[in-house]
């Protein structure tokens, strides 16, 4: 079963020291150790400091690594500080970007549609999925603005929205939100709810839980082991099913499969 990691960051971070993948080779070595086959990668500089420079670094550093897929960080432009949203999304497409990550908490903007809408519209038209990053938090807490998340899911129904870092403290909210919006997905790195994959299967939502490790800040070991011991059977699944985030457990083609990993 090939494993696709939706949530990896490349590049040195300001802090904590020693936990970064400074080169693609370091990232690939850890992926090989954990037997992760492919990853969607964003750059630490784009997340923490300079969006455009970090995105450019990412494209440069991922060149020649076909199992690492670029994910750009974007933010709503203000006073022309960032490119026009439509043109920016076109540039992302041209650069081979497979998804876009927004970090509203870190970058101090509202996720609400009145702020992010001008960016989300072009992303929806370009069929680029959006990853929502609210930073690391204690697993018992619920800092995700679910009203805003659901609002953008409803306003942009063709946009695939992936919430990163959902944890057991958000079980009730995330369950209700999945019921409300068919284009909402959850990334798994902080979600270790017992029997999670079985519970998602019971609801018919397996294609909506996407595997991620959160490396390099978070350990990949826990997440991979949890996936491998989820108890779900792979029999009868196509051999490439696990190569894509939403294909890990389902044989049903879906939008993310083609969007993220370029599978036919």
């Amino acid at each position: 079963m090939p494993i696709f990691d939706l949530n990896v960051t490349l590049g040195r971070t300001a802090s904590p020291a020693g936990a970064s993948f400074e080169t693609p080779e370091q990232l690939l070595a850890e992926m090989q150790r954990l037997r992760i086959d492919e990853a969607l990668v964003c750059h630490a500089i784009a997340l923490e400091a300079d969006v455009e420079y970090g995105n450019a670094l990412l494209i440069e550093q991922l060149r020649g690594h076909p199992n690492l897929y670029p994910c750009w960080v974007m933010a709503p432009p203000a006073f022309g500080d960032l490119p026009d949203a439509g043109a920016w999304v076109e540039r992302a497409r041209a650069a081979g970007v497979r998804a876009v990550r927004l970090a509203p908490k870190h970058s101090h903007y509202s996720l609400a549609a009145w702020c992010t809408g001008p960016l989300l519209g072009p992303l929806e038209r370009a069929r680029l999925p959006v990853l929502l990053d609210f930073g690391e938090h204690h697993w018992s807490q619920s800092p995700i603005p679910w009203n805003d998340v659901l609002d953008i899911c409803r306003r942009f129904p063709e946009l695939d929205v992936v919430v990163l870092g959902v944890s057991v403290g958000d079980t009730r909210n995330s369950h209700a939100a999945l019921r409300e919006a068919a284009n909402l997905h959850l990334e798994s790195h902080a979600f270790a709810l017992p029997g999670l994959y079985g519970l998602m299967a019971r609801e018919g939502w397996l294609e909506r839980i996407l595997f991620g490790t959160g490396m390099p800040r978070c350990a990949g070991e826990n997440r991979v082991f949890l996936l491998l011991h989820s108890g779900l059977k792979q029999a009868g699944r196509p051999p490439r099913a696990g190569a894509t985030p939403t294909g890990c457990f389902t044989s049903t083609p879906c939008r993310q499969r083609t969007t993220f990993a370029g599978n036919p």
Binding site: V168, T171, P194, L199, C218, G220, F225, L226, L228, Q234
Partner: protein
């Protein structure tokens, strides 16, 4: 998953009975939602994840209803005596109940193997006089004491006063491995009867290896914090860690087997 693929990924060939989870809970905690928490669910999860024995405390007991909660634990462990074991919870705010709880758990019930002190919830540090009777009992019977720390705990005095009782401080891998370590981590490397568990942590990358390097492998024990975390989550970090097989076996259960002499 094809069997051969499963074996290819299995990082440790645990001997039968080797994996002991020393930190779990029975019942529900409504600050989160963990629907998979019945005794039969726990045992099914243990079989799925390769955990052989599990020691838990009742949420009801640590939250206030000490007697009812300890009775709940007794009822649960009686159903699966080969797999499930219990902690006797002591509440220092009601010291007049301590003798009765010790008798209930260790004379009137089976499969109780240690004490659980939740100094954080109960608002009293481990050296508080409200714990004295219970700790004297633990010292007399060499019972392990699992402690959710208060923060102002005097570990040096307490461990010296009760030298036959192994104290296990919970959640040590909440430390990320590069920021200054909490004092108790350094103390665990120095005090013979002071130990740490890794339960319920955010699972920062390389934190476990750094914890082992700091304290020595014999001081670190596996715990899951089930049902907030699937059993596979923490045991996966141990199993796939960049440690030797001997170190993994020690953390996964060898150290616990040495301390919990009542585990049969």
């Amino acid at each position: 998953m094809p069997a051969t693929d499963h074996l290819r990924r299995e990082p440790v060939n645990w001997p039968k009975g080797a994996v002991l989870d020393i930190h779990a809970h029975y019942g529900s905690w409504e600050a989160t939602s963990s629907p998979v928490n019945r005794p039969e669910d726990i045992v099914e999860s243990m079989h799925r994840c390769g955990v052989h024995k599990l020691i838990g405390s009742s949420f009801t007991a640590i939250h206030g209803e000490t007697r009812l909660g300890n009775e709940q634990t007794a009822h649960i462990v009686r159903k699966y005596p080969d797999f499930l074991f219990g902690y006797c919870v002591i509440n220092p705010n009601f010291p007049g109940e301590t003798a009765e709880e010790l008798e209930r758990c260790f004379d009137g019930a089976e499969n109780f193997v240690g004490l659980k002190l939740h100094c954080g919830l109960h608002g009293k540090p481990v050296h508080d006089a409200g714990y004295a009777e219970a700790l004297a009992y633990a010292d007399e019977h060499a019972l392990p004491v699992l402690v959710h720390a208060h923060g102002d705990d005097n570990w040096t005095d307490t461990t010296q006063r009760y030298p036959n009782a192994p104290f296990i401080v919970a959640h040590a891998c909440a430390w990320n491995g590069w920021e200054p370590a909490p004092p108790v981590i350094s103390l665990a490397g120095e005090i013979d009867n002071l130990y740490l568990d890794v339960a319920g942590s955010a699972a920062w990358r390389m934190a476990l290896a750094r914890l082992v390097a700091r304290t020595g492998v014999r001081k670190v024990l596996y715990g899951s914090d089930y049902p907030m975390f699937d059993l596979a989550f923490e045991i996966g970090r141990v199993a796939m860690a960049d440690l030797s097989d001997l170190e993994k076996l020690a953390i996964g259960g060898g150290n616990a087997a040495r301390l919990f002499t009542r585990l049969t």
